[in-house]
Protein backbone atom coordinates (compact mmCIF):
# COMPACT_ATOMS: atom_id res chain seq x y z
CA UNK A 1 0.00 0.00 0.00
CA UNK A 2 1.03 3.55 -0.52
CA UNK A 3 1.29 6.19 2.09
CA UNK A 4 -2.17 6.81 3.50
CA UNK A 5 -4.02 9.55 1.76
CA UNK A 6 -5.70 10.81 4.85
CA UNK A 7 -3.88 12.14 7.85
CA UNK A 8 -0.35 10.89 8.12
CA UNK A 9 -1.03 8.13 10.58
CA UNK A 10 1.33 9.40 13.18
CA UNK A 11 -0.82 10.46 16.01
CA UNK A 12 -4.32 9.02 16.40
CA UNK A 13 -3.80 6.26 18.93
CA UNK A 14 -2.59 7.64 22.19
CA UNK A 15 1.00 6.73 22.70
CA UNK A 16 0.36 5.78 26.28
CA UNK A 17 -0.95 2.27 26.69
CA UNK A 18 -2.39 2.88 30.10
CA UNK A 19 -5.88 1.40 30.22
CA UNK A 20 -7.42 4.68 31.28
CA UNK A 21 -6.23 6.22 28.03
CA UNK A 22 -7.54 3.31 26.02
CA UNK A 23 -10.93 3.64 27.62
CA UNK A 24 -10.91 7.38 27.09
CA UNK A 25 -10.11 6.79 23.43
CA UNK A 26 -12.90 4.20 23.18
CA UNK A 27 -15.34 6.57 24.80
CA UNK A 28 -14.27 9.25 22.35
CA UNK A 29 -14.89 6.95 19.38
CA UNK A 30 -18.34 6.01 20.67
CA UNK A 31 -19.23 9.60 21.34
CA UNK A 32 -18.21 10.53 17.82
CA UNK A 33 -20.78 8.11 16.35
CA UNK A 34 -24.32 9.09 17.25
CA UNK A 35 -25.68 5.73 16.14
CA UNK A 36 -23.36 3.75 18.38
CA UNK A 37 -24.27 6.14 21.13
CA UNK A 38 -27.98 5.53 20.52
CA UNK A 39 -27.35 1.79 20.48
CA UNK A 40 -25.47 2.01 23.75
CA UNK A 41 -28.23 4.05 25.36
CA UNK A 42 -30.96 1.63 24.24
CA UNK A 43 -28.94 -1.34 25.38
CA UNK A 44 -28.27 0.15 28.79
CA UNK A 45 -31.93 1.07 29.10
CA UNK A 46 -33.05 -2.44 28.20
CA UNK A 47 -30.58 -3.99 30.63
CA UNK A 48 -31.85 -1.69 33.36
CA UNK A 49 -35.44 -2.65 32.57
CA UNK A 50 -34.39 -6.29 32.77
CA UNK A 51 -32.77 -5.81 36.12
CA UNK A 52 -35.44 -3.62 37.67
CA UNK A 53 -38.58 -5.05 36.08
CA UNK A 54 -40.19 -5.89 39.46
CA UNK A 55 -39.79 -2.29 40.61
CA UNK A 56 -40.85 -0.71 37.33
CA UNK A 57 -43.88 -2.91 36.69
CA UNK A 58 -47.21 -1.48 37.72
CA UNK A 59 -48.94 -4.86 38.13
CA UNK A 60 -48.21 -8.46 38.80
CA UNK A 61 -47.51 -9.63 35.23
CA UNK A 62 -49.29 -12.94 35.83
CA UNK A 63 -52.35 -11.70 37.69
CA UNK A 64 -55.54 -12.64 35.85
CA UNK A 65 -58.61 -10.49 35.70
CA UNK A 66 -61.30 -11.96 33.50
CA UNK A 67 -63.48 -8.89 33.88
CA UNK A 68 -60.75 -6.66 32.46
CA UNK A 69 -60.04 -8.61 29.30
CA UNK A 70 -58.50 -6.80 26.31
CA UNK A 71 -58.88 -3.38 27.89
CA UNK A 72 -57.53 -0.48 25.84
CA UNK A 73 -54.51 1.47 27.09
CA UNK A 74 -55.52 3.72 29.96
CA UNK A 75 -54.13 5.29 33.09
CA UNK A 76 -54.61 2.01 34.94
CA UNK A 77 -53.09 -0.13 32.19
CA UNK A 78 -50.63 1.89 30.15
CA UNK A 79 -50.35 -0.71 27.38
CA UNK A 80 -53.83 -2.18 27.93
CA UNK A 81 -54.52 -5.77 28.95
CA UNK A 82 -54.40 -9.16 27.28
CA UNK A 83 -57.02 -11.83 26.70
CA UNK A 84 -57.12 -12.87 30.35
CA UNK A 85 -56.86 -9.35 31.70
CA UNK A 86 -53.15 -9.27 32.52
CA UNK A 87 -51.41 -5.89 32.45
CA UNK A 88 -49.47 -5.66 29.19
CA UNK A 89 -47.10 -2.94 30.36
CA UNK A 90 -45.88 -5.15 33.18
CA UNK A 91 -45.70 -8.14 30.87
CA UNK A 92 -43.64 -6.23 28.31
CA UNK A 93 -41.24 -5.17 31.06
CA UNK A 94 -40.93 -8.71 32.42
CA UNK A 95 -40.73 -10.04 28.88
CA UNK A 96 -37.36 -8.36 28.47
CA UNK A 97 -35.93 -10.90 30.90
CA UNK A 98 -36.84 -13.78 28.61
CA UNK A 99 -36.20 -12.21 25.22
CA UNK A 100 -33.00 -10.34 25.98
CA UNK A 101 -31.80 -13.04 28.33
CA UNK A 102 -32.03 -15.57 25.54
CA UNK A 103 -30.26 -13.25 23.12
CA UNK A 104 -27.35 -12.73 25.48
CA UNK A 105 -27.11 -16.36 26.49
CA UNK A 106 -27.23 -17.64 22.93
CA UNK A 107 -24.65 -15.18 21.65
CA UNK A 108 -22.19 -15.82 24.44
CA UNK A 109 -22.70 -19.57 24.64
CA UNK A 110 -22.38 -20.12 20.89
CA UNK A 111 -19.37 -17.80 20.77
CA UNK A 112 -17.69 -19.67 23.59
CA UNK A 113 -18.46 -23.16 22.34
CA UNK A 114 -17.86 -22.36 18.68
CA UNK A 115 -14.72 -20.38 19.45
CA UNK A 116 -13.27 -23.21 21.50
CA UNK A 117 -14.15 -25.86 18.96
CA UNK A 118 -12.79 -23.74 16.12
CA UNK A 119 -9.51 -23.08 17.93
CA UNK A 120 -9.11 -26.77 18.73
CA UNK A 121 -9.93 -27.71 15.18
CA UNK A 122 -7.40 -25.25 13.83
CA UNK A 123 -4.66 -26.26 16.25
CA UNK A 124 -5.08 -30.01 16.09
CA UNK A 125 -5.73 -30.07 12.36
CA UNK A 126 -5.66 -33.31 10.44
CA UNK A 127 -8.56 -35.69 10.60
CA UNK A 128 -10.13 -34.05 13.62
CA UNK A 129 -10.22 -30.77 11.76
CA UNK A 130 -11.68 -32.43 8.67
CA UNK A 131 -14.36 -34.15 10.71
CA UNK A 132 -15.37 -31.00 12.55
CA UNK A 133 -15.47 -28.93 9.42
CA UNK A 134 -17.58 -31.45 7.51
CA UNK A 135 -19.95 -31.59 10.45
CA UNK A 136 -20.20 -27.81 10.46
CA UNK A 137 -20.80 -27.80 6.68
CA UNK A 138 -23.70 -30.12 7.19
CA UNK A 139 -25.08 -28.09 10.06
CA UNK A 140 -24.81 -24.94 8.00
CA UNK A 141 -26.72 -26.41 5.13
CA UNK A 142 -29.62 -27.71 7.20
CA UNK A 143 -32.19 -24.95 7.25
CA UNK A 144 -31.67 -23.40 10.65
CA UNK A 145 -35.28 -22.75 11.50
CA UNK A 146 -36.12 -26.36 10.70
CA UNK A 147 -33.27 -27.57 12.86
CA UNK A 148 -34.38 -25.34 15.70
CA UNK A 149 -38.00 -26.31 15.38
CA UNK A 150 -37.17 -29.98 15.17
CA UNK A 151 -34.87 -29.75 18.17
CA UNK A 152 -37.41 -27.80 20.15
CA UNK A 153 -40.05 -30.34 19.22
CA UNK A 154 -37.75 -33.22 20.20
CA UNK A 155 -36.67 -31.76 23.52
CA UNK A 156 -40.08 -30.36 24.33
CA UNK A 157 -41.00 -26.70 24.12
CA UNK A 158 -39.38 -24.55 26.75
CA UNK A 159 -37.32 -21.43 26.73
CA UNK A 160 -34.24 -23.33 27.79
CA UNK A 161 -34.57 -25.82 24.97
CA UNK A 162 -35.17 -23.03 22.50
CA UNK A 163 -31.98 -21.42 23.76
CA UNK A 164 -30.03 -24.61 23.35
CA UNK A 165 -31.37 -25.07 19.85
CA UNK A 166 -30.53 -21.56 18.70
CA UNK A 167 -27.10 -21.85 20.29
CA UNK A 168 -26.46 -25.05 18.42
CA UNK A 169 -27.26 -23.61 15.02
CA UNK A 170 -25.15 -20.50 15.66
CA UNK A 171 -22.06 -22.51 16.58
CA UNK A 172 -20.80 -23.26 13.04
CA UNK A 173 -20.30 -19.57 12.28
CA UNK A 174 -17.99 -19.17 15.25
CA UNK A 175 -16.21 -22.42 14.54
CA UNK A 176 -15.33 -21.23 11.04
CA UNK A 177 -14.24 -17.85 12.26
CA UNK A 178 -12.11 -19.15 15.11
CA UNK A 179 -10.59 -21.88 12.98
CA UNK A 180 -9.55 -19.36 10.35
CA UNK A 181 -7.91 -17.27 13.03
CA UNK A 182 -6.28 -20.29 14.61
CA UNK A 183 -4.80 -21.33 11.28
CA UNK A 184 -3.38 -17.91 10.56
CA UNK A 185 -1.99 -17.65 14.07
CA UNK A 186 -0.47 -21.07 13.67
CA UNK A 187 1.30 -19.79 10.56
CA UNK A 188 2.80 -17.00 12.62
CA UNK A 189 4.83 -19.51 14.53
CA UNK A 190 4.40 -18.71 18.14
CA UNK A 191 1.97 -21.51 18.56
CA UNK A 192 4.77 -23.77 17.45
CA UNK A 193 6.83 -22.33 20.26
CA UNK A 194 4.05 -23.04 22.69
CA UNK A 195 3.75 -26.54 21.33
CA UNK A 196 7.30 -27.25 22.35
CA UNK A 197 6.19 -26.91 25.93
CA UNK A 198 4.83 -30.38 25.43
CA UNK A 199 1.54 -32.13 25.36
CA UNK A 200 0.80 -31.22 28.97
CA UNK A 201 0.56 -27.57 28.08
CA UNK A 202 -2.30 -27.75 25.66
CA UNK A 203 -4.25 -25.22 27.57
CA UNK A 204 -1.44 -22.73 27.02
CA UNK A 205 -1.72 -23.22 23.28
CA UNK A 206 -5.45 -22.84 23.33
CA UNK A 207 -5.17 -19.77 25.46
CA UNK A 208 -2.69 -18.20 23.06
CA UNK A 209 -4.84 -18.87 20.06
CA UNK A 210 -8.09 -17.96 21.75
CA UNK A 211 -6.75 -14.66 22.96
CA UNK A 212 -5.64 -13.73 19.48
CA UNK A 213 -8.78 -14.95 17.81
CA UNK A 214 -10.86 -12.88 20.20
CA UNK A 215 -11.39 -9.60 18.31
CA UNK A 216 -13.17 -11.08 15.25
CA UNK A 217 -15.16 -13.37 17.53
CA UNK A 218 -16.22 -10.39 19.59
CA UNK A 219 -17.28 -8.52 16.46
CA UNK A 220 -19.40 -11.47 15.38
CA UNK A 221 -20.76 -11.82 18.90
CA UNK A 222 -21.85 -8.22 19.13
CA UNK A 223 -23.60 -8.50 15.77
CA UNK A 224 -25.29 -11.72 16.81
CA UNK A 225 -27.11 -10.65 19.95
CA UNK A 226 -29.72 -8.74 18.02
CA UNK A 227 -30.44 -11.58 15.64
CA UNK A 228 -30.58 -14.06 18.53
CA UNK A 229 -33.24 -11.91 20.19
CA UNK A 230 -35.21 -11.95 16.94
CA UNK A 231 -34.79 -15.68 16.55
CA UNK A 232 -35.97 -16.28 20.10
CA UNK A 233 -39.04 -14.18 19.49
CA UNK A 234 -39.68 -16.03 16.22
CA UNK A 235 -39.63 -19.28 18.18
CA UNK A 236 -41.99 -17.74 20.71
CA UNK A 237 -44.17 -16.68 17.80
CA UNK A 238 -44.58 -20.25 16.59
CA UNK A 239 -45.09 -21.47 20.15
CA UNK A 240 -41.77 -23.14 20.80
CA UNK A 241 -40.39 -20.67 23.30
CA UNK A 242 -41.28 -19.75 26.85
CA UNK A 243 -44.32 -21.44 28.36
CA UNK A 244 -47.26 -19.65 29.91
CA UNK A 245 -47.68 -17.77 32.13
CA UNK A 246 -44.14 -16.47 31.56
CA UNK A 247 -44.19 -13.27 29.53
CA UNK A 248 -42.21 -13.45 26.31
CA UNK A 249 -42.40 -10.89 23.51
CA UNK A 250 -42.60 -13.21 20.53
CA UNK A 251 -45.38 -15.26 22.11
CA UNK A 252 -47.21 -12.07 23.03
CA UNK A 253 -47.12 -10.85 19.42
CA UNK A 254 -48.30 -14.27 18.30
CA UNK A 255 -51.29 -14.32 20.62
CA UNK A 256 -51.98 -10.68 20.01
CA UNK A 257 -52.26 -11.07 16.26
CA UNK A 258 -55.64 -12.74 16.80
CA UNK A 259 -56.82 -9.41 18.15
CA UNK A 260 -54.86 -7.08 15.91
CA UNK A 261 -57.89 -5.57 14.20
CA UNK A 262 -59.81 -4.55 17.30
CA UNK A 263 -57.13 -4.57 20.00
CA UNK A 264 -54.12 -3.16 18.18
CA UNK A 265 -52.17 -2.61 21.38
CA UNK A 266 -51.81 -6.28 22.19
CA UNK A 267 -49.27 -7.18 19.54
CA UNK A 268 -48.03 -3.67 18.86
CA UNK A 269 -46.28 -3.01 22.16
CA UNK A 270 -44.33 -6.26 22.41
CA UNK A 271 -43.53 -5.93 18.70
CA UNK A 272 -42.14 -2.44 19.24
CA UNK A 273 -40.20 -3.76 22.22
CA UNK A 274 -38.55 -6.39 20.03
CA UNK A 275 -37.84 -3.83 17.34
CA UNK A 276 -36.28 -1.28 19.68
CA UNK A 277 -34.24 -3.82 21.59
CA UNK A 278 -32.90 -5.55 18.52
CA UNK A 279 -32.14 -2.18 16.94
CA UNK A 280 -30.26 -1.12 20.04
CA UNK A 281 -28.12 -4.23 20.15
CA UNK A 282 -27.53 -4.11 16.41
CA UNK A 283 -26.44 -0.48 16.47
CA UNK A 284 -24.11 -1.23 19.32
CA UNK A 285 -22.83 -4.27 17.46
CA UNK A 286 -22.16 -2.14 14.38
CA UNK A 287 -20.26 0.29 16.53
CA UNK A 288 -18.19 -2.45 18.11
CA UNK A 289 -17.43 -3.83 14.66
CA UNK A 290 -16.22 -0.44 13.51
CA UNK A 291 -14.04 -0.14 16.58
CA UNK A 292 -12.53 -3.60 16.49
CA UNK A 293 -12.36 -4.25 12.78
CA UNK A 294 -9.10 -2.78 11.56
CA UNK A 295 -10.39 -2.58 8.00
CA UNK A 296 -12.94 -0.01 9.01
CA UNK A 297 -10.44 2.21 10.75
CA UNK A 298 -8.85 5.24 9.21
CA UNK A 299 -11.49 5.60 6.60
Amino acid sequence: MTTPITAPAVAPLPAASRWQDKWAYLAHQIRRSPLTMAGLLITVMVLLVMAFAPWLASHDPNALNLTQRLAAPSAAHWFGTDEVGRDLFSRVLYGSRQSVGVGLFVAFASCFAGGLLGCLSGIIGGRFDGLIMRLMDIMLSVPSLVLIMALAAALGPSLFNAMLAITLVRIPFYVRLARGQALSIRQMGYVKAAETFGAGRWHMVIWHVARNAMPPLLVQLSLDIGSAILMASALGFIGLGAQQPTAEWGAMVATGRNYILDQWWYSTFPGVAILITATGFNLLGDGVRDLLDPRQQGK
Binding site: M1, T2, T3, I5, T6, A7, P8, V10, A11, P12, L13, P14, Y25, H28
Partner: protein, 346 residues
Protein backbone atom coordinates in the same frame (compact mmCIF):
# COMPACT_ATOMS: atom_id res chain seq x y z
CA UNK B 1 -1.41 23.41 -25.63
CA UNK B 2 1.93 25.06 -25.29
CA UNK B 3 4.17 22.71 -27.13
CA UNK B 4 6.58 25.48 -28.12
CA UNK B 5 7.86 25.92 -24.59
CA UNK B 6 11.60 25.54 -24.89
CA UNK B 7 13.16 23.00 -22.69
CA UNK B 8 16.26 25.06 -22.13
CA UNK B 9 14.45 28.23 -21.17
CA UNK B 10 16.05 29.67 -18.05
CA UNK B 11 14.02 29.39 -14.90
CA UNK B 12 11.18 31.69 -13.88
CA UNK B 13 10.74 33.50 -17.16
CA UNK B 14 7.21 32.26 -17.83
CA UNK B 15 4.32 32.06 -15.38
CA UNK B 16 4.79 28.95 -13.22
CA UNK B 17 2.40 26.04 -13.78
CA UNK B 18 2.14 25.30 -10.07
CA UNK B 19 2.41 27.81 -7.28
CA UNK B 20 2.07 26.91 -3.62
CA UNK B 21 2.32 29.79 -1.20
CA UNK B 22 2.64 29.52 2.57
CA UNK B 23 0.25 26.57 2.68
CA UNK B 24 -0.76 25.34 6.12
CA UNK B 25 -3.17 22.50 6.61
CA UNK B 26 -4.21 20.44 9.60
CA UNK B 27 -5.93 17.10 10.07
CA UNK B 28 -8.25 16.94 13.06
CA UNK B 29 -7.54 13.85 15.15
CA UNK B 30 -8.39 12.47 18.55
CA UNK B 31 -7.76 15.16 21.17
CA UNK B 32 -5.37 16.94 18.82
CA UNK B 33 -4.73 18.14 15.31
CA UNK B 34 -2.03 16.82 13.05
CA UNK B 35 -0.23 19.80 11.54
CA UNK B 36 0.63 18.21 8.22
CA UNK B 37 1.76 21.27 6.26
CA UNK B 38 3.28 24.24 8.06
CA UNK B 39 3.79 26.99 5.51
CA UNK B 40 4.93 25.25 2.37
CA UNK B 41 5.88 27.50 -0.53
CA UNK B 42 7.04 26.13 -3.82
CA UNK B 43 6.52 26.58 -7.51
CA UNK B 44 7.07 24.64 -10.72
CA UNK B 45 7.86 26.43 -13.96
CA UNK B 46 6.79 25.19 -17.36
CA UNK B 47 8.88 22.32 -18.63
CA UNK B 48 10.85 22.04 -15.44
CA UNK B 49 11.52 18.86 -13.45
CA UNK B 50 11.30 19.67 -9.78
CA UNK B 51 12.01 17.22 -6.99
CA UNK B 52 10.45 17.20 -3.55
CA UNK B 53 12.38 15.05 -1.10
CA UNK B 54 11.76 14.09 2.46
CA UNK B 55 11.15 11.27 4.90
CA UNK B 56 7.68 9.90 5.42
CA UNK B 57 5.70 12.38 7.44
CA UNK B 58 7.48 15.30 5.87
CA UNK B 59 4.33 16.32 4.06
CA UNK B 60 5.56 15.68 0.55
CA UNK B 61 2.80 13.29 -0.39
CA UNK B 62 0.15 15.47 1.20
CA UNK B 63 1.45 18.33 -0.91
CA UNK B 64 1.19 16.22 -4.04
CA UNK B 65 -2.31 15.01 -3.25
CA UNK B 66 -3.48 18.46 -2.30
CA UNK B 67 -2.23 19.90 -5.58
CA UNK B 68 -5.09 18.13 -7.36
CA UNK B 69 -7.24 18.32 -4.24
CA UNK B 70 -7.42 14.59 -3.98
CA UNK B 71 -7.49 14.40 -0.19
CA UNK B 72 -10.95 13.46 1.12
CA UNK B 73 -12.97 16.62 1.49
CA UNK B 74 -13.65 17.64 5.08
CA UNK B 75 -10.83 15.50 6.40
CA UNK B 76 -8.51 18.52 6.55
CA UNK B 77 -8.60 22.23 7.32
CA UNK B 78 -6.72 24.80 5.28
CA UNK B 79 -5.29 27.25 7.79
CA UNK B 80 -3.59 29.63 5.39
CA UNK B 81 -1.97 29.95 2.02
CA UNK B 82 -2.91 29.21 -1.55
CA UNK B 83 -2.31 26.67 -4.26
CA UNK B 84 -2.85 27.29 -7.94
CA UNK B 85 -2.33 25.38 -11.14
CA UNK B 86 -2.06 27.42 -14.32
CA UNK B 87 -3.37 30.34 -12.35
CA UNK B 88 -6.48 28.53 -11.15
CA UNK B 89 -6.93 28.52 -7.39
CA UNK B 90 -7.27 24.85 -6.57
CA UNK B 91 -8.28 25.25 -2.94
CA UNK B 92 -11.43 27.27 -3.55
CA UNK B 93 -12.44 25.93 -6.96
CA UNK B 94 -15.68 24.04 -7.25
CA UNK B 95 -15.39 20.29 -7.53
CA UNK B 96 -16.97 20.55 -11.00
CA UNK B 97 -14.26 22.91 -12.22
CA UNK B 98 -11.55 20.65 -10.88
CA UNK B 99 -12.68 17.91 -13.23
CA UNK B 100 -11.28 19.72 -16.25
CA UNK B 101 -7.98 20.41 -14.50
CA UNK B 102 -7.41 16.88 -13.30
CA UNK B 103 -5.94 14.74 -16.02
CA UNK B 104 -5.91 17.50 -18.65
CA UNK B 105 -3.95 20.42 -17.19
CA UNK B 106 -2.22 18.34 -14.59
CA UNK B 107 -1.88 14.57 -14.46
CA UNK B 108 -0.59 12.30 -11.76
CA UNK B 109 1.44 9.13 -11.57
CA UNK B 110 1.33 7.00 -8.45
CA UNK B 111 3.73 4.80 -6.60
CA UNK B 112 2.08 1.40 -6.93
CA UNK B 113 0.88 0.78 -10.47
CA UNK B 114 -0.74 -2.47 -9.43
CA UNK B 115 -3.30 -0.86 -7.18
CA UNK B 116 -3.44 2.46 -8.96
CA UNK B 117 -5.25 0.88 -11.88
CA UNK B 118 -8.72 -0.57 -11.55
CA UNK B 119 -8.07 -4.30 -11.23
CA UNK B 120 -11.26 -5.41 -12.95
CA UNK B 121 -11.23 -3.06 -15.93
CA UNK B 122 -9.21 -3.67 -19.04
CA UNK B 123 -6.39 -1.23 -19.66
CA UNK B 124 -8.02 -0.04 -22.87
CA UNK B 125 -11.28 0.81 -21.14
CA UNK B 126 -9.47 2.75 -18.46
CA UNK B 127 -7.50 4.76 -21.00
CA UNK B 128 -10.53 5.46 -23.15
CA UNK B 129 -12.45 6.63 -20.06
CA UNK B 130 -9.90 9.39 -19.57
CA UNK B 131 -9.30 10.29 -23.22
CA UNK B 132 -12.98 10.51 -24.08
CA UNK B 133 -13.69 12.42 -20.90
CA UNK B 134 -11.26 15.22 -21.70
CA UNK B 135 -11.20 15.28 -25.49
CA UNK B 136 -14.10 15.16 -27.80
CA UNK B 137 -12.98 12.15 -29.73
CA UNK B 138 -14.95 9.31 -31.22
CA UNK B 139 -14.35 5.92 -29.72
CA UNK B 140 -12.29 4.82 -32.71
CA UNK B 141 -10.15 7.95 -32.62
CA UNK B 142 -9.67 7.65 -28.89
CA UNK B 143 -8.61 4.06 -29.35
CA UNK B 144 -6.13 5.00 -32.06
CA UNK B 145 -4.78 7.68 -29.77
CA UNK B 146 -4.40 5.25 -26.88
CA UNK B 147 -2.54 2.80 -29.09
CA UNK B 148 -0.26 5.55 -30.33
CA UNK B 149 0.42 6.62 -26.76
CA UNK B 150 1.28 3.12 -25.67
CA UNK B 151 3.54 2.61 -28.67
CA UNK B 152 5.19 5.88 -27.82
CA UNK B 153 5.97 4.40 -24.41
CA UNK B 154 8.01 1.71 -26.17
CA UNK B 155 5.30 -0.88 -25.68
CA UNK B 156 5.70 -3.46 -28.42
CA UNK B 157 2.17 -4.78 -28.67
CA UNK B 158 -0.25 -2.01 -27.65
CA UNK B 159 -3.37 -3.85 -28.79
CA UNK B 160 -2.64 -6.74 -26.51
CA UNK B 161 -1.91 -4.49 -23.59
CA UNK B 162 -5.14 -2.62 -24.20
CA UNK B 163 -6.94 -5.93 -23.93
CA UNK B 164 -5.26 -6.95 -20.70
CA UNK B 165 -6.21 -6.54 -17.08
CA UNK B 166 -3.66 -4.83 -14.85
CA UNK B 167 -2.76 -8.05 -13.06
CA UNK B 168 -1.74 -9.59 -16.35
CA UNK B 169 1.08 -7.03 -16.85
CA UNK B 170 4.45 -6.64 -15.19
CA UNK B 171 5.11 -3.78 -12.81
CA UNK B 172 7.25 -1.86 -15.31
CA UNK B 173 4.66 -2.35 -17.99
CA UNK B 174 1.91 -1.07 -15.72
CA UNK B 175 3.92 2.03 -14.92
CA UNK B 176 4.45 2.65 -18.63
CA UNK B 177 0.70 2.42 -19.03
CA UNK B 178 0.32 4.94 -16.22
CA UNK B 179 2.75 7.28 -17.94
CA UNK B 180 0.93 6.89 -21.23
CA UNK B 181 -2.26 7.70 -19.43
CA UNK B 182 -0.63 10.72 -17.82
CA UNK B 183 0.46 12.09 -21.19
CA UNK B 184 -2.81 11.22 -22.90
CA UNK B 185 -4.19 14.74 -22.65
CA UNK B 186 -0.88 16.58 -22.98
CA UNK B 187 -0.87 18.07 -19.49
CA UNK B 188 1.30 21.04 -18.56
CA UNK B 189 2.14 19.50 -15.25
CA UNK B 190 2.77 15.96 -14.20
CA UNK B 191 2.89 15.09 -10.54
CA UNK B 192 4.76 11.86 -9.94
CA UNK B 193 4.38 10.52 -6.41
CA UNK B 194 7.21 8.05 -5.80
CA UNK B 195 6.68 6.65 -9.30
CA UNK B 196 9.40 4.03 -9.17
CA UNK B 197 9.62 3.01 -5.52
CA UNK B 198 7.69 -0.20 -6.09
CA UNK B 199 9.71 -1.25 -9.11
CA UNK B 200 12.82 -3.36 -9.62
CA UNK B 201 16.01 -1.33 -9.60
CA UNK B 202 16.73 -1.95 -13.28
CA UNK B 203 13.18 -1.10 -14.29
CA UNK B 204 13.23 2.06 -12.19
CA UNK B 205 15.86 3.62 -14.35
CA UNK B 206 14.16 2.76 -17.62
CA UNK B 207 10.88 4.17 -16.43
CA UNK B 208 12.44 7.41 -15.21
CA UNK B 209 14.39 7.89 -18.38
CA UNK B 210 11.23 7.36 -20.36
CA UNK B 211 9.36 9.80 -18.19
CA UNK B 212 12.02 12.48 -18.62
CA UNK B 213 12.34 11.90 -22.34
CA UNK B 214 8.62 12.28 -22.94
CA UNK B 215 8.28 15.25 -20.62
CA UNK B 216 11.11 17.10 -22.30
CA UNK B 217 9.69 16.27 -25.71
CA UNK B 218 6.31 17.69 -24.86
CA UNK B 219 7.44 20.48 -22.59
CA UNK B 220 5.61 19.02 -19.62
CA UNK B 221 6.72 20.08 -16.18
CA UNK B 222 7.19 17.34 -13.56
CA UNK B 223 6.86 17.53 -9.81
CA UNK B 224 8.71 14.43 -8.63
CA UNK B 225 7.93 13.35 -5.07
CA UNK B 226 10.54 11.00 -3.65
CA UNK B 227 12.54 10.01 -0.62
CA UNK B 228 15.48 9.05 -2.78
CA UNK B 229 18.26 11.64 -2.96
CA UNK B 230 20.09 9.80 -5.72
CA UNK B 231 17.06 9.95 -7.91
CA UNK B 232 16.71 13.68 -7.40
CA UNK B 233 20.34 14.27 -8.20
CA UNK B 234 20.06 12.43 -11.48
CA UNK B 235 16.74 13.67 -12.80
CA UNK B 236 15.69 16.99 -11.31
CA UNK B 237 16.42 20.57 -12.34
CA UNK B 238 15.55 21.95 -8.98
CA UNK B 239 14.82 20.41 -5.57
CA UNK B 240 12.80 21.22 -2.46
CA UNK B 241 13.76 19.45 0.75
CA UNK B 242 10.81 19.02 3.09
CA UNK B 243 10.77 18.30 6.80
CA UNK B 244 7.79 18.27 9.20
CA UNK B 245 5.48 19.86 6.71
CA UNK B 246 7.66 22.67 5.55
CA UNK B 247 10.36 23.31 2.97
CA UNK B 248 13.69 23.53 4.75
CA UNK B 249 15.95 23.97 1.76
CA UNK B 250 15.52 24.70 -1.91
CA UNK B 251 17.60 25.45 -4.99
CA UNK B 252 19.02 24.16 -8.22
CA UNK B 253 19.82 20.49 -7.75
CA UNK B 254 23.49 20.77 -8.46
CA UNK B 255 23.94 23.61 -5.96
CA UNK B 256 22.02 21.84 -3.25
CA UNK B 257 23.98 18.67 -3.81
CA UNK B 258 27.26 20.45 -3.85
CA UNK B 259 26.60 22.83 -1.03
CA UNK B 260 23.75 21.73 1.27
CA UNK B 261 23.03 24.41 3.85
CA UNK B 262 20.50 22.78 6.12
CA UNK B 263 21.82 20.14 8.52
CA UNK B 264 18.85 17.94 7.50
CA UNK B 265 19.87 18.11 3.84
CA UNK B 266 23.42 17.42 4.90
CA UNK B 267 22.18 14.42 6.78
CA UNK B 268 20.29 13.18 3.73
CA UNK B 269 23.37 13.59 1.59
CA UNK B 270 25.88 12.26 4.05
CA UNK B 271 25.11 8.67 3.36
CA UNK B 272 24.99 9.19 -0.36
CA UNK B 273 27.96 7.57 -2.05
CA UNK B 274 29.04 8.74 -5.47
CA UNK B 275 27.37 6.92 -8.34
CA UNK B 276 24.82 5.45 -6.05
CA UNK B 277 22.24 3.19 -7.56
CA UNK B 278 18.81 4.77 -7.13
CA UNK B 279 16.39 3.11 -4.81
CA UNK B 280 18.53 2.43 -1.82
CA UNK B 281 17.43 3.85 1.42
CA UNK B 282 20.18 6.04 2.69
CA UNK B 283 18.59 7.83 5.57
CA UNK B 284 21.09 7.77 8.34
CA UNK B 285 20.01 10.68 10.46
CA UNK B 286 19.72 9.80 14.14
CA UNK B 287 16.55 10.34 16.10
CA UNK B 288 12.95 10.46 14.95
CA UNK B 289 10.64 12.81 13.17
CA UNK B 290 8.78 14.73 15.89
CA UNK B 291 5.08 14.18 16.46
CA UNK B 292 3.17 16.37 14.01
CA UNK B 293 0.44 17.04 16.48
CA UNK B 294 2.86 18.44 19.01
CA UNK B 295 5.58 20.27 17.13
CA UNK B 296 8.08 22.18 19.24
CA UNK B 297 8.09 25.96 19.26
CA UNK B 298 11.55 26.20 17.84
CA UNK B 299 13.32 24.50 14.98
CA UNK B 300 11.62 21.17 14.36
CA UNK B 301 14.96 19.57 13.58
CA UNK B 302 16.38 20.69 16.89
CA UNK B 303 16.38 17.32 18.62
CA UNK B 304 18.22 15.63 15.79
CA UNK B 305 20.64 18.45 14.96
CA UNK B 306 24.32 18.33 15.84
CA UNK B 307 24.74 22.08 15.48
CA UNK B 308 21.86 23.33 17.58
CA UNK B 309 22.33 26.56 19.47
CA UNK B 310 20.12 28.58 21.80
CA UNK B 311 18.92 30.54 18.78
CA UNK B 312 17.30 27.35 17.46
CA UNK B 313 14.62 27.54 20.19
CA UNK B 314 13.09 30.07 17.86
CA UNK B 315 11.87 28.62 14.58
CA UNK B 316 14.10 29.82 11.73
CA UNK B 317 12.44 31.45 8.70
CA UNK B 318 13.67 30.80 5.16
CA UNK B 319 17.02 32.48 4.72
CA UNK B 320 17.83 33.69 1.25
CA UNK B 321 21.17 32.41 0.14
CA UNK B 322 21.09 33.31 -3.51
CA UNK B 323 18.08 35.30 -4.60
CA UNK B 324 18.78 34.98 -8.32
CA UNK B 325 18.90 31.21 -8.19
CA UNK B 326 15.99 31.09 -5.69
CA UNK B 327 18.31 29.34 -3.29
CA UNK B 328 17.03 29.28 0.29
CA UNK B 329 17.41 27.36 3.53
CA UNK B 330 15.51 27.39 6.82
CA UNK B 331 18.43 27.19 9.22
CA UNK B 332 19.91 29.99 11.29
CA UNK B 333 23.31 28.65 10.32
CA UNK B 334 22.68 29.00 6.62
CA UNK B 335 22.54 32.79 6.75
CA UNK B 336 25.55 34.24 4.91
CA UNK B 337 27.32 35.00 8.20
CA UNK B 338 27.17 31.39 9.25
CA UNK B 339 28.24 29.92 5.95
CA UNK B 340 30.66 27.64 7.68
CA UNK B 341 28.23 24.97 8.62
CA UNK B 342 29.40 22.74 5.84
CA UNK B 343 33.02 23.01 6.76
CA UNK B 344 32.34 22.26 10.38
CA UNK B 345 30.52 19.10 9.43
CA UNK B 346 32.00 16.21 11.35
Amino acid sequence: MTMQASVQTPLAEQAPVLVIDDLRIEFPAYKSTVKALNGVSLHVNPGEIVGVIGESGSGKSVTAMLSLRLLPERSYDVKSGSLSILGRDMLTAKEKDLLSVRGRDAAMIFQEPMTALNPTRRIGRQMLDVIIHHQRLSKADAKAKAIALLRDMHIADPEQVMNSYPFELSGGMRQRVMIALAFSCDPQLLIADEPTTALDVTVQRQVLLLLREKARARGTAILLITHDMALVSQFCDRVYVMYTGAVVEQGVTAQVMADPRHPYTQGLLSGLPEQVEPGQDLMTIRGQVPNLSALPEGCTFLDRCAFATAQCLQRPPMQIINAAADRKSACWLSAPSHATAQESRP
